[in-house]
């Protein structure tokens, strides 16, 4: 019998493939192309080969070299500070919530999740007032005499606080769902054998949720590299550009005032993308190997 041509899968997969190609694949390819050009977003791009990359990576006298290095350094600081907290804190909250004696689990979960729905700009205004020396809690309740956004390490502290406050909910829900999927038999057996809560956590909970853990670790890290709103709203990249992250430079170059410098911005974005790619790959490799 002649094989029938089945078009049904095409109809199901087609729309997604089209959307992916139009909104993600093509822009990505064009963005990579732009990184090899001088382009102001208005007129035709002019091909300059690797000039942008050479300037960014090797021209010590160039403003763009300085910006890229400062931006990357600050981004790395943010990643190193925020990612561990965004993994550990939601995990602890999730474990605590899963305890059978906890009442009102859903209510607590909702309260912790809601900050993630608030826009960065609205949240930032609230937190800046809280840490305001004259008007806020920091000055009036805790007696802090420091202007937090204008001094280090306080500037990083308030950025991390708002980031954790807004980001805890997402990972917590993933962890809570995965923890609730762990077989209770394992805990009961361990308890019978005399294992305490810490041992049960490290030997049963963590190994059992290793895949959600890997997923959230990689996604949280990638998201942290793309940080933009918190330093922009909380400290405007200050004090002395010490919280000026790479995405702020990229956006300013591409869409700031004055003629766009989109080629240089694209090159910085591609470099950032490569860094995220390498780190994500390393994370997968290391954690999967350890998980074997």
């Amino acid at each position: 019998m002649k094989k029938k041509l089945n078009l049904a899968p095409v109809f199901f997969v087609g729309p997604h493939v089209i959307l992916f190609a139009v909104f993600i694949l093509l822009p990505t390819i064009y963005g990579i192309y732009a990184s090899f050009t001088k382009w102001n977003l208005m007129n035709d791009p002019v091909w300059v080969g690797l000039d942008n990359y050479k300037t960014i990576l090797f021209d010590n006298s160039s403003t763009f070299h300085t910006q890229f290095n400062n931006g990357l350094k600050n981004t790395l600081i943010f990643v190193l500070l925020s990612v561990p907290l965004l993994i550990v804190i939601p995990l602890l909250v999730a474990v605590a919530l899963e305890h059978k004696k906890v009442k009102g689990k859903s209510l607590i979960q909702s309260i912790i999740y809601i900050p993630g729905l608030i826009s960065i700009s609205a949240g930032a205004l609230i937190w800046l007032l809280l840490f305001n020396k004259q008007l806020g809690m920091a000055g009036n309740v805790f007696g802090s005499d420091v202007s937090w956004p204008a001094n280090q390490p306080y500037a990083w502290i308030i950025i991390i606080i708002i980031t954790v406050w807004g980001g805890v909910g997402g990972n917590m829900i993933i962890y809570r769902a995965s923890i609730s999927g762990v077989a209770q038999d394992l805990y009961e057996s361990a308890e019978i054998d005399g294992a305490g809560p810490v041992r049960r956590f490290t030997s049963i909970t963590l190994p059992s949720i290793r895949f959600p853990l890997i997923y959230t670790f990689v996604m949280t890290t990638a998201g942290a590299f793309n940080v933009f709103g918190q330093p922009l709203m909380m400290t405007d990249g200050g004090p002395r550009q010490s919280t000026h992250v790479l995405m702020m430079y990229i956006r300013q170059l591409a869409f700031g005032n004055g003629e766009s410098i989109a080629g240089m911005a694209s090159a910085m974005a591609v470099l950032l993308g490569l860094i995220i790619l390498v780190i994500s790959a390393l994370q997968y490799y290391v954690m999967n190997r350890n998980a074997a």
Partner: protein, 415 residues
């Protein structure tokens, strides 16, 4: 065989429908799409003006679209050629770049059809901001300025009311208050500090460009910073990182250097007894209120019909006659018909158009690379004034910053 044929037909049908649906759209030949970046309270006042105009039953009505991130969207639609707005409000510093890139339509057709839309009927610097090489590309809505609000109660308390006698508060006058203020009180905040610095440059007889090249690392720029730094060093400026704007509203600061548009917010603060004057200066002979302008402009759009251009002309003439509504947003209206009317005097910002000298003080930078210089000044001015960085070193960095951006930006030929 039948199924196969039907399958192909269904696929073709879906694709056809998609194409047809994508092509469908509301007929907009009778509507002027008007983009503005007015995402604050001021957007509501423009909404009202558009509503008032449409209420006159013009042949072509105006649809006001408040566009967040408008300039990003402009670059997107200009590249694609679709969805270009018929009319847009842009800022003064955008004009030279857009003209150089060949993206702005001259206003010739509008000014020809509407004889009253001419230089004589607008504040001179607002009009000339849109004049490039003799061609008019914009029609001004307003001038919005850096200004200085003062707290009447504090001025009285510290015996400083005489500072206002000549409408010029000098830095020396401010310094004379050193050691006389109560704990937690300050002479001036750092609101819009970058604009203040750019104003000081004019007061010192300087400029931000020399022979078309950026002039950032200059004795004048250094002097401007040092003059303002004196206030900080005397302990009279609100502390670094504090919200000086809020502190003025709390009644702890004598002077606040924010914008004309802030008068509406200050007026909403209970118990704040305030007035407005010129931004402080190093000399009593010269004062400057660094300004910008909201300008009506038309981006090149082959779909803009002659009827629409005529409709735009009617709308702009309506605005020229009726933009007293815009004064409610706290802005200095550019139309002379409005600012010379009796009712305009009720608005606080009428101070800045009350005489020739005040009008001249509203300085708009039109240098092509002003945006890069403003960015450099804004990025570093706080640290310089507070003494957090070495001033000479930082001016070098700022100069390099601007030069590098200019060098990188000279790309492509105008279409």
């Amino acid at each position: 065989m039948l199924k196969k044929k039907w399958g192909f037909s269904a696929l073709a049908l879906v694709l056809s429908l998609s194409t047809v649906l994508a092509g469908c759209g509301k007929d907009d030949s009778k509507t002027i799409t008007f983009w503005t970046p007015l995402t604050g309270d001021d957007g509501a006042y423009m909404d009202q003006l558009v509503k008032d105009y449409n209420a006159t039953n013009p042949e072509i009505k105006v649809k006001h679209v408040i566009t967040a991130d408008m300039y990003t969207k402009i670059s997107t639609v200009l590249n694609s050629g679709k969805g270009v707005p018929d009319l847009a409000i842009i800022h003064a510093d955008r004009v030279p770049g857009y003209v150089k890139q060949g993206t702005l339509e001259p206003m010739t057709a509008v000014t020809t059809a509407q004889p009253e839309i001419k230089q004589d009927n607008y504040l001179p610097q607002a009009w000339s901001t849109g004049t490039i090489d003799g061609t008019q590309y914009t029609v001004p809505l307003d001038i919005h300025s850096n200004v200085m609000y003062y707290n009447k109660d504090l001025l009285k308390k510290y015996g400083a009311e005489s500072f206002l006698d000549d409408n010029v508060v000098t830095i020396d006058e401010m310094l004379s208050l050193k050691g006389k203020l109560a704990e937690g009180d300050f002479v001036v905040n750092d609101a819009l500090l970058g604009w203040v610095i750019l104003g000081q440059i004019q007061n010192l007889g300087g400029d931000i460009q020399e022979n078309g090249k950026p002039a950032v690392n200059t004795p004048v720029m250094k002097q401007a910073f040092e003059n303002v730094k004196k206030i900080n060093d005397a302990g009279l400026m609100t502390p670094f990182g504090e919200d000086g704007y809020l502190m003025f509203q709390s009644g702890n600061v004598l002077f606040s250097t924010d914008g004309t548009w802030s008068s509406t917010a200050h007026a909403g603060v209970e118990g704040l007894n305030f007035g407005v004057t010129n931004v402080y200066s190093n000399t009593a002979d010269k004062f400057t209120n660094r300004s910008s302008s909201h300008l009506f402009s038309m981006f090149k759009n082959k779909d803009r019909s002659e009827e629409k251009v005529a409709g735009i002309g009617n709308f702009l003439e309506f605005i020229r006659q009726n933009s007293i509504e815009w004064a409610k947003a706290g802005q200095t209206v550019a139309s002379k018909k409005v600012i010379e009317s009796p009712e305009y005097k009720d608005y606080m910002q009428s101070f800045f158009t009350s005489n020739e000298k005040e009008i001249e003080s509203l300085y708009i930078y039109t240098y092509e690379y002003y945006p890069y210089i403003a960015e450099a000044v804004d990025t570093y001015c706080g640290d310089i004034v507070r003494g957090n960085v070495d001033i000479d070193e930082t001016l070098q960095t700022m100069q390099k910053f601007v030069e590098d951006k200019i060098a990188e930006g000279t790309s492509g030929a105008a279409k």
